[in-house]
């Protein structure tokens, strides 16, 4: 679950991490607007600054105008419905600080850079030496010597303050089951370090043990911005593409292989849709609903190879869908693996041919799609 800036900052405040004094303003309630201030669009996507989503104002008149302007924006498809209005800070330097994890190295990872306030991916590309990456043993926790290395890298003098700051970030990262806590910029003011921005993403897989937190944040997102944060964690991945062969697979690896084979055979997939590891008739049904919403599709290719996944359940989902939604679309189902006899029998009895060889299935699906155009 991605959090809005104001939500991240509320978590910061609770954790003792300094933030600017601020207030939330919505289209319905502007009573807390103040000036001079920074007026900031609350959206989940990045790059709002360049798109006019952050304005500095000196008086209330400017503040009202800024609020009007930003509340009318749509940033990368997100309508702005809330603003965070914050005191202006006397900024001396801007750092970047984040903690996330490095999946390939299998470890939590701190990243700091003295080039804060900028697009950090651009810094990573062009000046990688300006980013210090420090893995952390999750059981041991962040060590003093790594904190010192970060402070030295940034050139920040007050080591004690910096250490306390970093330890609080680490604690928040662990205790709230965050997968990302990013502060860009982390600013140096005359009063010390202040988190001027906040980008937090929580681990959806941790929902069961963070229920209260997720519910509170989710309800807040709905109430204030009219939309919830993006959620991962669902089993179905759906990515719309440009072609006319509707594709569903029960694994990302075979899905990508099929995508390649479709193109190799002169076709184009209309989508990439995979259902994840352990699925069910209901998931199969939902996948079909999702994929077949796309009316450009001229043939449907379902590629199944069951391990934990049961082919009888997949057949059940497919047959249920097509009994609920009559369709003339050519349907190519490659079905093998766990409970394949039962699955094949069900499909065949219902009049759907079943393929065992992937190449033949792809070839037929591509041909049917071409014929349908």
């Amino acid at each position: 679950m991605k959090l809005y800036e104001f939500q991240g900052k509320a978590l910061f405040e609770e954790a003792g991490i300094p933030i600017p004094r601020g207030a939330l303003v919505t289209a319905d309630s502007r009573k807390d607007l103040f000036a001079p201030s920074a007026v900031k669009a609350q959206v989940l996507s990045g790059g709002r600054g360049k798109a006019g989503g952050v304005l500095l104002v000196s008086n209330m008149e400017e503040a009202e105008k800024a609020a009007d302007s930003i509340l009318s924006l749509e940033l990368k498809g997100e309508k702005v419905s809330a603003l965070l209005v914050e005191e202006k800070m006397d900024i001396r330097r801007e750092y970047y600080l984040a903690v996330t994890f490095d999946g390939e190295a299998r470890t939590p990872l701190f990243m700091v850079s003295p080039s804060g306030g900028m697009d950090i991916e651009a810094v990573a590309d062009r000046e990688p030496e300006k980013i210090l990456k420090l893995p952390v043993d999750p059981l041991w926790g962040i060590t003093d010597y790594k904190i010192r290395a970060m402070a030295d890298f940034l050139g920040y003098e007050d080591k004690k303050e910096f250490a306390a700051f970093v330890r609080r970030i680490w604690k928040l990262f662990r205790e709230k089951d965050a997968v990302l806590v990013e502060i860009n910029p982390l600013v140096v003011t005359d009063k010390g370090l202040v988190a001027l921005d906040s980008k937090i993403e929580l681990d959806d897989d941790a929902l069961p043990r963070q229920k209260a937190l997720f519910e509170t944040l989710g309800a807040e997102q709905l109430r204030i911005t009219g939309q919830e944060g993006e959620k991962g964690g669902g089993t179905i991945t759906y990515v719309p593409l440009e072609g006319n062969v509707g594709l569903i697979s029960d694994g990302a690896g075979t899905g990508m292989l099929t995508l390649d084979l479709i193109r190799d055979m002169g076709g184009e997939a209309a989508d990439f849709c995979e259902m994840g590891g352990l699925t069910s008739p209901e998931v199969m049904y939902s996948a079909l609903e999702q994929v077949l919403e796309d009316k450009r599709i001229k043939s449907l290719l379902v590629v199944l190879i069951g391990g934990f996944n049961r082919m009888d359940e997949m057949a059940e989902g497919i047959l249920k869908y097509f009994s609920d939604h009559k369709s003339d679309l050519p349907v190519v189902v490659r079905l093998c693996g766990t409970m394949e006899e039962e699955g094949s029998r069900m499909m065949t009895e219902a009049g759907y041919p079943v393929y065992d060889d992937l190449r033949t299935a792809v070839s037929d699906a591509v041909r049917f799609a071409a014929e349908g155009e």
Partner: protein, 288 residues
Amino acid sequence: MAILVNENTRVIVQGITGKSGILQTKSLLEYGTSVVAGVTPGKRGNSVEGVPVFDSVVQAMERCTPNAAISFVPPMFAKDAAMEAMEVGIELLVLTMEGIPKHDVLDILAYAEGRNIRVIGPGTAGVISPGKCKLGAHPSRMFIPGKVGVVSKSGALSYEVGKTLTDAGIGQSTVVALGGGPIWGMNQRDAVELFNDDPETEIIVLLGEIGGGTEIAAAEFIAKAVKKPVVSLIVGRSAPEGKSLGHAGAIIRGNKGTAASKIEALERAGVHVALSPAQVVDIIRKLG
């Protein structure tokens, strides 16, 4: 020999009395895997498909001396169960579940690191040494004993290639699926190293996909240390840039992790790169 699992593997099933646990235990036993014990807290004294059930891995260890564990424990309890197995001395852990909280996965892998404990997964289909031991969800008919070692991040892709090899009469020493999650234990390089050291494996098949850099790391290791022929298939060549295709690792960032960059690194390392499972078969036939 084979790698990771063989005829001497003594398996404990964690979470044996759940729906998946029962179903998979049946499938493992049917394959001939030596499932010596199961664990579900509070279910001591029961049995599943004839396998005795204990409250804890400690109890199971005392009586049945397992040396490998496969876990079907629900995600929120997976970390504790993994620690239980590791502390008791289990050296190979197959974590099948998806949805384990990330910090829990990080903790499990941090503990395993440096202790010679191999963790496969989470979110893995597991590992099979055909004819000897299956410690995963592999459909049995797709695998036959032989001399080709296969490693794949994706479980389904490992079945697909296994099936194609088997249909062509080419047997496998061991087929390993590493799991598709954003964080996982054993990686391609580790598996290639094991295959390289395994006298029974003559050809290594490395299945990869777009995103991340683990295939590049494997290629570097192959260039340096592997004398056996390696055949590789990287899927996702036709994937759109910057989109996640299911596996969280599969996001193209700049030039990093594209199919093209991986294929190039592999070819530079002397790997035979195939574009489809059928081509994998063709190359192996030529090598053989």
